[in-house]
């Protein structure tokens, strides 16, 4: 997992985000390609990806396993180097992982040795240690407590991750990502490992949070229903070489609710996407 040298512009990027959560940025990918070389064999993971994610949009990347959707997300995160093309977030080129792009994973990736509150404080403290801001502990703690209240974990701020249920761990991870005020959230099948009921709850939670903060979200999934429920648009991925095959508008109103998955309009969109996937 190679990342490029530390971008000099990272500090500058942070200053512009002081507007608070909701300072959403657009993401523009043009001609992005990636080839993996393993044991002398070249595998084209992505080719010629053009995509424009609008500021404040919730866009779902949908496709089967191995279609390159995770690779694409990691290129936007700056965790993987692209071989061709360009990626900009809020107009600035991506050169490595930075806190303007928060990331959520299939496992919550909480730090097991830290309490919920200290997990949330990790980002702000790590940023302070490199001089990105000079806010003191009481200020950071007040902010962490406020965000834990928002995600419904105020009572569990001194619990350790292993003491939380799966859904609570995801909410804690969400709070931890949100507290650093990213302008884009990258979500890599975050609810894929949860049981069906918890998943529905997390959908409801994510929709509510997105309505509240209106942050740009790129949400990777292989579940058509999840993509239609959450997304403003669904980018269907696949093909050889892998890329974006079609971008489908989801003409459903907002706010949406996790249980509105059997209306006629919903089913029609779902059917359309399925036929696009199978064609």
């Amino acid at each position: 997992m190679a990342a490029r040298a530390e971008p000099a512009s990272e500090a500058a990027q942070d200053e512009t985000r002081d507007a608070g959560p909701g300072g959403a940025a657009g993401v523009v990918l043009s001609g992005v390609g990636k080839t993996f070389r393993r044991a002398g064999r070249r595998t084209v993971a992505l080719a010629g990806v053009d995509l424009e994610v609008r500021a404040g949009e919730l866009l779902c990347l949908l496709g089967p396993s191995g279609c390159g959707k995770s690779t694409l997300l990691r290129i936007v995160a700056g965790a993987l180097e692209r071989d061709q093309g360009s990626v900009t977030v809020g107009g600035r080129p991506v050169t490595g992982p930075a806190p303007d792009r928060g990331m959520l994973f299939q496992t919550p990736m909480l730090f097991p040795w830290l309490t919920t509150r200290k997990n949330v404080l990790f980002g702000p403290r790590a940023q302070r240690s490199r001089g990105l801001h000079e806010r003191d502990d009481p200020e950071l703690e007040a902010e962490a407590d406020a965000i834990l209240e928002t995600v419904g974990l105020a009572q569990f701020s001194d619990a350790f991750p292993h003491e939380l249920s799966g859904g609570m761990q995801h909410r804690a991870a969400f709070a931890r990502a949100l507290v650093t005020r990213p302008s884009v959230l990258l979500m890599d099948e975050p609810f894929g490992a949860l049981d069906a009921l918890t998943r529905v709850r997390m959908h409801e939670f994510l929709l509510a949070m997105w309505e509240r903060y209106r942050i740009t979200i790129i949400f990777v999934t292989h579940d058509i229903e999840e993509a239609v429920l959450l997304g403003d648009r669904v980018a269907v991925m696949g093909g050889r070489p892998p890329g974006i095959r079609e971008i489908i508008d989801v003409p459903l109103g907002r706010p949406r609710h996790a249980l509105d998955v059997d209306t006629e309009g919903f089913l029609a969109v779902k059917r359309g996407i399925r036929s696009s996937l199978l064609s």
Binding site: H162, E163, S165
Partner: protein
Amino acid sequence: MAGWYAPGTGGSVIVEDIRPPGPRPDGGEDLDDRADLIAHRRARRRARTQRVATGAAGIAVLLALWQVGAMLLGDQVALPSVSQTAAQFLHYLNHPYPAEGKPLWYDLYISLRRILIGFAIGVAGGVALGSAMSASRVVRHLVDPVIEILRPLPPLAFIPLFIVWLGIGETPKEVLIIVGVVPLMAVMTVVALDEVPDDLRLCARTLGASRAYTLLHVQIRAALPYILTGMRLAMAGAWSSIVAVEMIAATSGLGYVIQQAGDYLDTALVFAGILVIAVTALVLDAGLRGLLLLADPSRRG
């Protein structure tokens, strides 16, 4: 994705300590509120108290069986009683043992010093070697076969070599411990660092941590519980090495005393020496275990 994230199984103290930490034992249903969390923690504490009490009862039963057996047998050379062993221990704790002219506490000090010096150097070397192996594929492939050859060898096989090379002073004893500790710690460190998911590092980076901060506060921090577990295993190995070498090639130390006492059929002193080793090893292990609990909250309770 093993390690922090893999489910564990219950079991004895040592099994629970070595296994990777798992999710909540109640299967991870949603906690309703703080009271739930506190009740959950209290239940875990209660389970631990119960476990410790049962364990203490086991030791008491063993001592009682020993005492009764010794009294029935009535042969002090074959099996001295608990009280005879205690008396011999208390006597030689302060009085010099004729064969070397030193009391027991001095031999304990000598053995402990050899162990701690060898252990400290061995752990530092093993962790450094393991980190290098984890960071560089070339180093890993270079060192791996050497460790694989060394690891199954009993360090005792090297005693004659070390005596020829390093004489009969303290150095060969410390080196013997180092030779036992380094491969184990190197392997445990490689495993520990490999187990840290790449995504945990990426996560820290997207939260705004620098590379150095991530290395220190995430990668090394996440590896710490495994390294401490490795240290506990290595400590046990260090004790067997040191006692053995003291029996063969030393004129001081607990192994030497035990050997001498055996030669003079002073079985009570043999037992006393063994018990001193057992208690000291237990105390050292408890210290390491305390560090482990500090490092890994999921093992507490």
